[in-house]
Amino acid sequence: MTVRRELDFNRDLQAVGVANLLAALVCLAAWLGGPKLLGAIPFAVTGGLLVFLRVSLLANWLLDRSRYLSPLENAVLLAILLVTMLSGWVAALMAGLVLALLLFVIDYSRISAVRSLITGRTRRSHVDRRPARSRLLDRYGDSILVICLQGHLFCGTAHILRRTIMERLEVPSRSRPHWILLDLRLTSGLDASAVHTFQRLAQICESAGIELVFSGLSNDTRRLLLRSGILAGDREGHDWFSDLDHGLEFCENELLPFTLRR
């Protein structure tokens, strides 16, 4: 990057080999020449070399790179410097690792787990229904809330999901959804805190008379939800649905008899 050209492994390894050879020759000369030879090197040269190395490292990491690092990343660099000065480089390495991990978790949790949030009025299943029934779904489709999730679900992202659903439940009862369909097709997995969030959501939905429906589950996620009691059973088409379309069809089929009675 510094010389603005592609990395050439052959050329670079040859250069490293030559540099190692030169270093070996210097070491050999120092060994053969004894302390006299080292003593011949002025103190200002070795001292200046050490100061130059440290100043260049500081300038490179704290000044040059600060222009394209975020304030939090710069703070991590300063923290590493501080820990190095106070406790040595091993402690600084560990501190840097932990802080970088924390930074990653904070950044990742800012990516919303909710890819899209729509209702059964705008997103319909692929079922061709008679126009009269379609009109009923147009009218009452908002009682089906479809939430498509994405990414890895953990404490940070699951919290956003819970808040999103709670906002929908804190409206007058007439506008509340009666079915919440969670599609997990684009998720890569979930951890214990996300499972806990789902358990809490399932309890809230049950007490509010809302049916929580899952679709697009991977085998691992399905087993996890089953073990944690979020899924009542393992029957496809009843306890869970292979894809969003079948889940939506189920919700519509449940909704239509209610609308026909109104």
Binding site: S116, R123, D128, R130
Partner: protein
């Protein structure tokens, strides 16, 4: 009109006595058929098929990208709709398979029969195309809604 053919039209969809007569004529020229549950009415990639108007029962339209691939459900169709209209109108091999989820009662119209009907009962053919266009427009509307929802 018996209750089953009435599934083809919505109440108020026929504009007058002339259209009701046209529907009666149309029904006289189509062949009543019955398919048991699990039957494949149309096979993907087969030559253009007949137009099938569903009176009762439910069918699933599914497509495979390759013979080994799992089928992808494109649509499920309730009575009152038609299948096979894409191959029927474009004259191309069928783009998807249509499988009966339950026993299906339907009306079948072949291309030669339609050609004859165009000469004998032009008003009936006009009505058929109007009903088919309406179904296609409804599907387009649903697809547009889906595209909007996905884009948003």
């Amino acid at each position: 009109m018996s209750p089953e053919p009435a599934a083809l039209v919505e109440p108020g969809e026929l504009s007058g006595e002339a259209e009701r007569r046209a529907l009666t004529r149309l029904l006289e020229h189509v062949e009543p058929v019955r398919f048991p549950a699990g039957t494949s009415i149309i096979e993907q990639g087969a030559p253009p098929s007949d137009l099938i108007l569903l009176l009762s029962g439910r069918v699933v339209v599914e497509r495979r990208d390759s013979p080994e691939a799992a089928p992808l459900r494109l649509r499920t169709m309730d009575p009152g709709t038609c299948v096979g209209e894409i191959g029927f109108d474009l004259g191309t091999p069928t783009s998807a398979s249509v499988i009966c989820e339950e026993e299906v009662r339907a009306l079948r119209l072949s291309q030669p029969r339609l050609a004859a009907l165009e000469q004998e009962e032009p008003r009936a053919v006009l009505l058929l195309h109007r009903l088919a266009a309406r179904k296609l427009a409804q599907r387009l509307l649903t697809t547009n809604q889906l595209a909007t929802a996905l884009a948003g």
